[in-house]
């Protein structure tokens, strides 16, 4: 008797839970970024007009992007985006500690984060012993002549990723 009662009650309860899972799936989908947000995740930036040693800030997926054409006296790094004979630092301009924007100081050629004191050099490498434990992130890019399409993954970017020179963004 009570077995059957439990069985019917539990069958109904279990089945209702199944429906609730369906509802939660719909809710999860509702919470996702909108297709228009995702579609807007591609930005083309033109590097041909950059002046060596001058930081330019662009915008990609709402985040600042640092573009710095390296001068001859700046150290080279495998993280540089190379176009012809020019080398560029291209990174997401957010500190890898907690996401503040580091300010570029052209006299000591450093990115200094005001929030928790993080420092990065002109190749975006974090200085040891400070809060950030990763170099500035390089956004996915594909080289198109003198232009970069941010958001798309080109061979150069994939190589950097494989060499663990940057994290996935």
């Amino acid at each position: 008797m009570s077995t059957r009662r439990n069985f019917m009650g539990m069958a109904l309860g279990g089945f209702t839970a199944l429906g609730a899972v369906g509802g939660l799936y719909a809710a999860k989908r509702t919470w996702e970024p909108l297709p228009s947000v995702k579609a807007a995740g591609f930005t083309t930036i033109d590097l041909s007009e950059a002046k060596a040693g001058e930081l330019v800030t662009e915008k990609w997926r709402g985040k600042p992007i640092f573009v710095l054409k390296k001068t001859d006296d700046m150290p080279y790094h495998d993280r540089d985006v190379v176009i012809g004979s020019d080398r560029y630092l291209i990174t997401v301009g957010l500190c890898t500690h907690l996401g503040c924007i580091p300010a570029y100081n052209s006299s000591d050629k450093m990115f200094n984060c005001a929030c928790h004191g993080g420092k990065f050099d002109v190749s975006g490498i974090n200085l040891p012993g400070l809060p950030p434990s990763f170099p500035l992130d390089i956004p996915p890019f594909r080289i198109e002549g003198t232009k970069l399409v941010l958001g798309e993954k080109g061979t150069e970017y994939n190589k950097m990723l494989a060499d663990k020179l940057t994290r996935k963004v």
Binding site: L12, G22, T57
Partner: protein
């Protein structure tokens, strides 16, 4: 149990009656058209072929309405004004009938495609050049798929007299002042069928749903949910990140606004954006309205665009894609949700049965 079913039947009956009263019945009463005698006029679709039937029907009603009013009118001044109107309506009847009779005859002639191409180049491409230039109030449409989008007889009629073909001749005292009016009388019957034959043969490829809309509708109607304006697809632009302004987008918005102002001046008002029209109008209205706008909205400045049935279906598909994009998802999800509640109800029934079996 039996009694409970009886009660349920009563509730279901009144609910059904309520639904009938506020939905089918009310909507029928609200949208029905009646003539002067109060008899209902049914507006039907004619399969998107054009031979003057809809105009003839409307004029027939107008004439019989006037005759009926005349027979009951006592006041002499009103009577004479009605008589005047009746004479005009009858003249219009003859004019329309003759026009479409000629169109039907012309359409039977055999066209020459090669000849048509020459005629097309010398008579049409000057305006129908895809440049998006406003001419006389409106941008001449792109004709890339005209052969399949538009009905043959309609094209013939259009080349004879554009205002008559699109059933907006009431707007003009002289139909050659229509933006495309200069074509009226410029071509003989053979030239007309040659051009139509050329359009059917060389511009008769099946358009995509969006192309159909872009060629047949877009010069007047925007579709903002697909980023389409009267000038076509909105170009992609980028904001200046230092100022936050997108100057190119602003310039484009101004161009659109100027185009809309010209359209509004030409048509009397700005034609509506059609993003949600598929849910705002019934299927029957859409069909009959597009076939001949005057039947549903007498006096409207919307011209008949002469879509063929295939052309209409393409436009309709685009309107549905944009205005009712969840339809496919609804159809997929529906059986699962309803099936879920069927099983839920069955399980609940057994649960109830178990708890209630010892009670009586």
């Amino acid at each position: 149990m039996n009694k409970e079913l009886q009660i349920f039947a009563v509730v279901a009956f009144f609910t059904g009656l309520l639904y009938w009263g506020v939905e089918p019945f009310a909507h029928h009463e609200m949208h029905k058209k009646v003539d002067a005698k109060g008899e209902e006029i049914h507006i039907e679709s004619h399969g998107f072929t054009y031979d003057g039937t809809t105009e003839a029907k409307a004029l027939e009603v107008a004439v019989s309405d006037l005759e009926f009013k005349l027979s009951t009118e006592e006041n002499a001044t009103l009577k004479s004004s009605l008589e005047e109107k009746l004479v005009k309506a009858k003249a219009q009847q003859t004019k329309k009938a003759n026009f479409w009779k000629e169109v039907v005859e012309t359409a039977q002639l055999k066209g020459n495609v090669a000849q048509g191409e020459t005629e097309f180049t010398s008579n049409c491409t000057g305006c129908h050049n895809g440049m998006g230039m406003n001419m006389g109030g409106v941008i001449p449409p792109n004709l890339d798929h005209a052969g399949s989008l538009y009905d043959k007889k309609y094209l013939v009629a259009l080349l004879k007299d554009p205002a008559m073909a699109s059933n907006v001749d009431h707007k003009y005292s002289d139909t050659s002042t229509h933006p495309m009016g200069s074509i009226k009388g410029a071509l003989n019957s053979q030239q007309i069928v040659d051009i139509v034959a050329y359009l059917k043969a060389k511009k008769g490829a099946e358009p995509t749903a969006k192309q159909a809309f872009m060629e047949a509708c877009v010069r007047c109607h925007a579709m903002r949910y697909d980023k389409v304006t009267q000038l076509g697809d909105t170009p992609k632009t980028k904001e200046n990140i230092k100022t936050g302004h997108d100057i190119e987008a602003m310039k484009y918005a101004q161009k659109v606004a100027e185009e809309q102002a010209m359209l509004a001046d030409y048509l009397g008002k700005l034609p509506p954006d059609l993003s949600m029209i598929i849910r705002a109008r019934s299927e029957h209205f859409m069909e009959t309205f597009i076939e001949d706008p005057q039947t549903q909205l007498a006096g409207t400045s919307m011209p008949r665009v002469g879509l063929s049935e295939a052309g209409y279906e393409k436009v309709h598909e685009y309107l549905s894609d944009i205005g009712d994009p969840s339809k496919p998802a609804r159809e997929i999800v529906a059986p699962w949700v309803i099936g879920f509640f069927l099983i839920f109800t069955l399980l609940a029934y057994f649960w109830k049965k178990f708890h209630w079996r010892d009670l009586h």
